[in-house]
Symmetry: C2
Subunit: 225 residues, 2 copies
């Protein structure tokens, strides 16, 4: 191939995906148990290499799709890790992307195929390279973003209850929220639709289901938790 900048060295470029899910009132990350070299039998993020004619964003989506079967997932670039020795085997610069998925959408057979597992963010295994740091920075970003952008609904089924939503926020933010203040805010923002169906599984009284109404949200784009 022709090279316009001939003297310049080239570098292997990777994408690593921090895939967040939610379960048992805990924020979780999907990790794979590497059945291949290098670093065989250790845990790592889902990653892959960027093709020479491939957009960086597209590479992230392709890798996520290959490793999770998911398409059309909300994903954001986090940051690029470029220490020369971050991968001891070869110089690899890696850009991280973070995705929020509903765990049930993740295909069980892929879990088996990649020997993947969900880990609570409070209880991560030893990870290869700088993957721990990558998760930390993605989590920090997530904690900032969830307060101003309605992305948490990617982690919940279409119908969810307010206690569920609150537990999700508490799980992500790592702090407890006041039930009344939380609901008051949601109410004033006015993008949740109350159904007249109840989830009876979590309590005797039952909790009403709600849905996120994207159109209502788009009218104001006002979001602040």
């Amino acid at each position: 191939m022709d090279r316009a900048y001939k003297e310049v060295q080239q570098i292997t470029l990777a994408v690593d995906c921090i895939i967040f899910g939610f379960n048992n009132n805990q924020l979780e990350v999907l990790l794979i148990h590497r059945g291949f070299e290098p670093e065989k039998e250790r845990w790592s993020l889902m990653g892959g290499f960027v093709g020479n004619r491939e957009d960086l964003d597209a590479a992230a989506h392709r890798i996520l799709h290959d490793l999770s079967g998911l398409e059309d997932v909300y994903m954001e670039q986090v940051r690029t890790f470029g220490k020369a020795d971050r991968d001891p085997y070869e110089r690899v610069v890696s850009t991280t992307y973070s995705a929020l998925i509903l765990k049930e959408q993740y295909k069980a057979e892929l879990i088996a195929q990649y020997r993947a597992r969900w880990f609570s963010i409070d209880d991560l295994p030893n990870l290869i390279f700088d993957h721990k740091q990558m998760i930390v920075s993605a989590l920090n970003r997530l904690r900032r973003r969830v307060r101003t952008v309605p992305i948490v609904f990617n982690l919940l089924p279409k119908k969810f209850t307010l206690p569920q939503l609150q537990l999700l926020y508490e799980g992500i933010l790592g702090e407890e929220l006041d039930k009344r203040n939380f609901r008051k805010k949601l109410n004033t923002m006015d993008f949740l639709v109350k159904l007249d169906e109840k989830d009876m599984s979590g309590s005797r009284k039952g909790a009403y289901y709600y849905q996120f109404d994207e159109n209502k949200y788009n009218r104001t784009m006002n979001f602040n938790i």
Copy 2:
């Protein structure tokens, strides 16, 4: 060289620096008039390529130093631009870093050497590739950051006046601030030291000089404009 991931394509990796300065109550960006191909005679950010054994952050500092003569500059990674066709000559992925420098520290001979020029952010020339977008995203980040981290002092001399500081904030944020509220906030945060020397150049009354006291700031790390 040995390659651990043999089948993987490699990509040219660049760093582009968005160097902000402040003058005439305006936030400015340093651009170079390219005297070389490709895109000769057009304006661009200061950039360069990442060496194969070089940390990404180090590359950013090296490039900044080469093109500005500056060392020990406060610099932050902004984001990575990776569209396959962003550089029409060759596939180049570029990570942007943003720096804030005091214009007077920038060596005049380098301005000549690189045919560089400061441009007000409200009046940018046509730029190559996606450099306009890069400036926009760095500016957005800067606007968020200046409110919670004391980085503006990089754009001011050691001794500065409160009117100067306020004009700087107004220039960065692109909005006017209330003088009394602005000063009240600074006062409660308590990291500025008032000198008993006045700057008489801007008014008849003269404005007291202040200094940023990093130790005082570090005690509370409380910053919010």
